[in-house]
């Protein structure tokens, strides 16, 4: 059972088949993000039974500072969810909490039982003091076979570095190798923390395209942290804008037009997203199609109504 006891019943209900009525979806939308900057009080949203991983009412306090408060998040199979927000917004802390590396002071994290997560951490500084080839790195731990390693490296387009030392790879190559490691155990959820750090602009676009292809091919849920907004948002099905609480969330187009988003990132960023928007209308359609099953990202029609 995925619901916590004592929750207000009604919005989605325990059964997966129940599609929320438009009025309810609207109310939901209001609560989860459209209204920004206000404290929502204790979270009462039931966990999403379709989600791979979900969080409710997360609060994290470190050294007297509230880093996250009342954060709700769901990631469903096959969706790319991008977490954006300014520096210090708590993005990495939220991800670390979802991964179980941080303990929340309040709230709960729920994982689908047996969920396999592939993680690509933010900073991957390889200490050259440790001699280690790519192949060896990929076999560390579970002892993956060479054929399997070759397959995964090919999938991320990094076959030719298999015999190289980790310390000699470029930023982009290293990211792909770490991504390959994350894919080795066939994860259902891929978590990438600012994967384009230290990667040039072309490499960045390629990496996001690769993540999109992986999602399509493997049906992965993807949680992506980024501060590089427009490229990421174009690839995303859903964007959550975080600034110690969830400021706004929804399909990329809706978030980009949101006043809170403009306030956080400035009108320039918002405009630069608009340039990209028409390129990716198909993504928008795709998101619209899957949206009815997902309360937190209603079709944009709903929003405009």
């Amino acid at each position: 059972m995925t619901e916590r006891p004592g929750e207000t019943a009604g919005t989605v209900g325990g059964s997966k088949a129940a599609v929320p009525a438009p009025a309810q979806a609207h109310a939901h939308d209001h609560q989860s993000g459209a209204c920004c900057g206000h404290s929502h009080g204790p979270s009462a949203r039931p966990l999403d039974p379709a989600a791979l991983i979900g969080a409710r009412g997360l609060e994290i306090v470190r050294s007297g500072r509230t880093i996250l408060s009342d954060v709700d998040l769901d990631i469903r199979p096959g969706e790319i969810l991008t977490l954006i927000g300014p520096n210090g917004a708590g993005k990495t802390t939220l991800v670390r909490t979802l991964l179980g590396l941080e303990r929340p002071d309040r709230g709960t994290v729920w994982k689908r039982p047996g969920l396999k997560v592939g993680y690509v951490p933010q900073r991957f500084d390889i200490d050259r003091a440790l001699p280690m080839t790519v192949e060896r790195f990929l076999s560390l731990g579970d002892g993956a076979k060479k054929s399997r390693i070759e397959t995964v490296l090919e999938e991320v387009g990094a076959s030719r570095v298999i015999a190289q030392q980790l310390g000699q790879l470029s930023g982009g190559e290293l990211q792909r190798v770490v991504l390959a490691r994350a894919l080795l155990n066939d994860p259902e959820l891929l978590v990438l923390d600012e994967p384009v750090r230290g990667v040039d602009y072309v490499g960045e676009a390629e990496l996001y395209a690769l993540i999109g292809r992986l999602r399509d091919r493997r049906g992965l849920g993807v949680l992506l942290i980024s501060h590089d907004l427009h490229v990421v948002m174009a690839q995303s099905d859903r964007v959550v804008c975080l600034n110690r609480h969830v400021c706004c969330s929804g399909v990329p187009e809706a978030v980009a037009q949101h006043p809170e988003y403009t306030r956080l990132f400035g009108p320039e960023q918002a405009r630069s997203f608009a340039v990209y928007q028409h390129h990716h209308d198909h993504r928008h359609d795709l998101a619209g199609e899957t949206a009815p099953a997902s309360p937190a990202s209603p079709p944009s029609g709903d929003r405009n109504a």
Partner: protein
Amino acid sequence: MLELEPFLLRAIAASLALALVAAPLGSLVIWNRMAYFGETVSQASLIGIALGLFLGVDITGPVIFVTLVVAGLLILLSRQKIVPLDAILGLMHHGALALGVIATLSLRGPAVDLMSYLFGDIFAVTTTDLYWVYGGGALVLAILAWLWQPMLRLAVHEELAAAEGVNRDLVKAVFIVLLSLTIAIAIKIVGALLVIAFLIVPAVAARPFSSTPERMALLAALVAAASVVLGITLSLNFDVPGGPSIVLFMAVIAGFSVASAALRRNA
């Protein structure tokens, strides 16, 4: 010239065993950037020696106890961010050394041979010491072999390893206990000041010629073993202290090794 008298056999047997144990452990110290940490902890062992002398017991137990306390203290102090870690290590390192020297000398009066505790006396190794070296060394190697994979994963990337399910606190704690145990074993042979050299210098020498972690550990063991033979020979022929002679050869080999890597890079 070289007669294999019992004291000499014991010296060689103990140093070789130590070289073998120190190689993988020292490699891990280097990979985790803990050389200065190890140095600080090993010099604090002098306080353990003083404690052992005061209580009139074998120094092994007190040395393990004190090194663990100092390691714990270092980890605790490293959690604050106002003073950088290297400064904290400097503070502890010199503070521990000062306290250790004063304590050792004042407990038993000037008759105590402080030099032998600081630099060891490989030719004074007893049969009991040999049991300690081989028994303790085998235990350290066995645990290292058992936890080698998780330790490597933590050395590559701690966060990633933790996210993948490596119990980081446990593995790190075991590592520090192994370090402390090795220091306690080694201290009678090479002394509080040279222990850390046995750990890290051979690993440094091995790095430029290693493409895998295991090769680095193995090469480090070979460098250390060669240094033991050369150092003891030097010591016997020129009547110079054994421990420093061994460390000198380690350092010379490491110096040439790193220099050759630097030259290859520029070529």
